[in-house]
Symmetry: C2
Subunit: 301 residues, 2 copies
DNA sequence: CTGTTAGCGCCTTCAC
DNA sequence: GTGAAGGCGCTAACAG
């Protein structure tokens, strides 16, 4: 009998049929608010996925990566994915994908934000961390400024000042801006006059060009709070060592260049997301960050 | 009617049922011969996956990453994956997974090797590239040596000399060793006396420790052909600038440190694998590499 | 203990 | 035009 099956080229049990029967696929879905290649180009995204995949490997789950934002078939792509649960990365306020994943009735974990009633959220307290690092970098400064991630899906590079919350579509970015604003105000500055350079992508080149634009607008800038280490380094390259500077993520870049940064483990957050999505209980990550003080915010007075 | 469905919490079309009906899942499977986290830790693996994902995103395919080598349920994991085609990364001679994927009857593309009758193969000509770079680095040398990736699944670090093909389980490693050997013999050395340092992992620390072991065995080593740029840099850090040196992949490391290297695009190879797996025709990648000469193999005589 | 059957949810066909 | 039914491949339950 087995020989006959072999001879006829029986392709083995069909996974779709099996899933249908059992009602589970043993696969975790990761929904990206970005182009798929971004998942493998941004080092933070890679760390996050490494954490996710660690959990999947342990439990014998596959990992299905679903890109969104490319077209109007996002909902179909997400719903068509044969997965048991979703982890969302880089989603935004009012993202239609949020409704889509919720309507599936499957477990959903959102990384970073936004907080959605009934869906799990894993994130550090970006606002509080931003307040702490900005307080560090803006103390003893005369003309503070910010280097930011994109504010909305259009992902434009530009320079503005004191942006309002409602202009900012990405939760992590909004929270960090809010934290910078908290610090700015506590130190007695006028937020509406603080220049904010927005970088389309998270890389050195973009940061340098945006820093040039910032300095063109206000050459007296003497302190920069940046949302990533590459952005911070780009700012320094267009300035001089007297610039007070902070980055974010405590990567090799900030270590090598003595840049004050915010340490957080994307990998651990990935683990927490996957564990939660697959039915476990992860610890609270709100306070899982640390301010790492380095030479770039040393007081020189 | 729609309202009623909504009210009852209809979870939307079930992807498993849909796949079953249509006989396709619109998902590409990537089978890793490594622990899943490796896929996100090794920069070459990340580039390869970026290429794969680019194609998947274009065509509206999902990406399902299946780790193997963890236990004896590899076959089940692979067969249970709801995918339309497979791409294999870091597989080896006689890997049982090869039989498993073939038995599914789905399209299979193997990256790097081994060549299997009836399954597609995407790879540069590692042997020829290794011969070229070794000829470059070993010319004018007196005591050539090699820094290698693991030879087999046990992934041990150790020092040996002139290993035979049959000791080497990974196709890419075997081909490169063969190319080094070709060059060594053409230059008149005795392959069986050439020290080969095997590094368990592809990182600097491992390379430094293995280089120490190599030098302990033969302090007169004056040229190293390494299978990656990190391994090459590690070797240099335990030696001095007079060491003739070559790496592989033409990464930032080799550029910054003036190390001769072999350029190839893992990303393009990823694209080629995905295109082939999903039914397209990719161009031949055998000769898609280049020797990049730098200061580390300058003739100083 | 072996053999048959029902049904997972979907889509397409065919009947009305 | 609307509506019912069959079958994709699997497995659990049930009948012989």
């Amino acid at each position: 009998v087995l020989a006959a099956a072999e001879a006829l080229g029986y392709p083995g049990p069909d996974p779709s049929a099996r899933s249908l029967r059992y009602g589970e696929t043993r696969t975790l879905g990761v929904v990206l608010g970005e182009h798929l290649t971004y998942a493998f180009e941004d080092s933070q995204a890679v760390s996050f996925l490494a954490g996710i995949s660690e959990v999947c490997a342990d439990r014998g789950y596959g990992l299905n990566i679903v890109p969104t934002g490319a077209g109007d078939d996002d909902a179909r792509r997400v719903m068509d994915a044969a997965v048991d649960a979703y982890v969302l990365w880089t989603t935004f306020y009012d993202d239609p994908v949020l409704d889509t994943v919720r309507s599936t009735g499957k477990p959903v974990v959102i990384h970073g934000g936004p907080a959605v009633e009934g869906l799990a959220l894993i994130s550090i307290d970006n606002r509080e961390a931003a307040r702490a690092v900005a307080t560090e970098v803006f103390t003893n400064a005369k003309h503070p400024a910010v280097m930011s991630f994109p504010l909305d899906r259009r992902r434009m590079s530009f320079v503005t000042s004191g942006p309002d919350d409602h202009e900012i579509e990405y939760p992590v970015t909004r929270e960090r801006i809010a934290g910078y604003r908290d610090a700015v105000r506590e130190l007695g500055f006028d937020w509406s006059e603080v220049p904010v350079g927005v970088c389309r992508t998270n890389d050195l080149g973009e940061a340098r060009s945006t820093m040039q634009d910032l300095l063109a607008r206000d050459p007296s800038i003497d302190a920069i709070a940046a949302m990533s280490d590459p952005l911070a380094l780009g700012a320094r390259m267009e300035s001089n060592d007297s610039l007070r500077l902070s980055g974010w993520d405590d990567s090799d870049i900030s270590r090598q260049h003595g840049i004050t940064s915010v340490a957080q483990s994307m990998r651990e957050q990935g683990v927490a997301c996957a564990v939660t999505a697959l039915g476990g209980v992860a610890s609270n990550y709100r306070d899982n960050w640390q301010l790492v003080r380095r030479a770039s915010t040393q007081t020189t007075s």
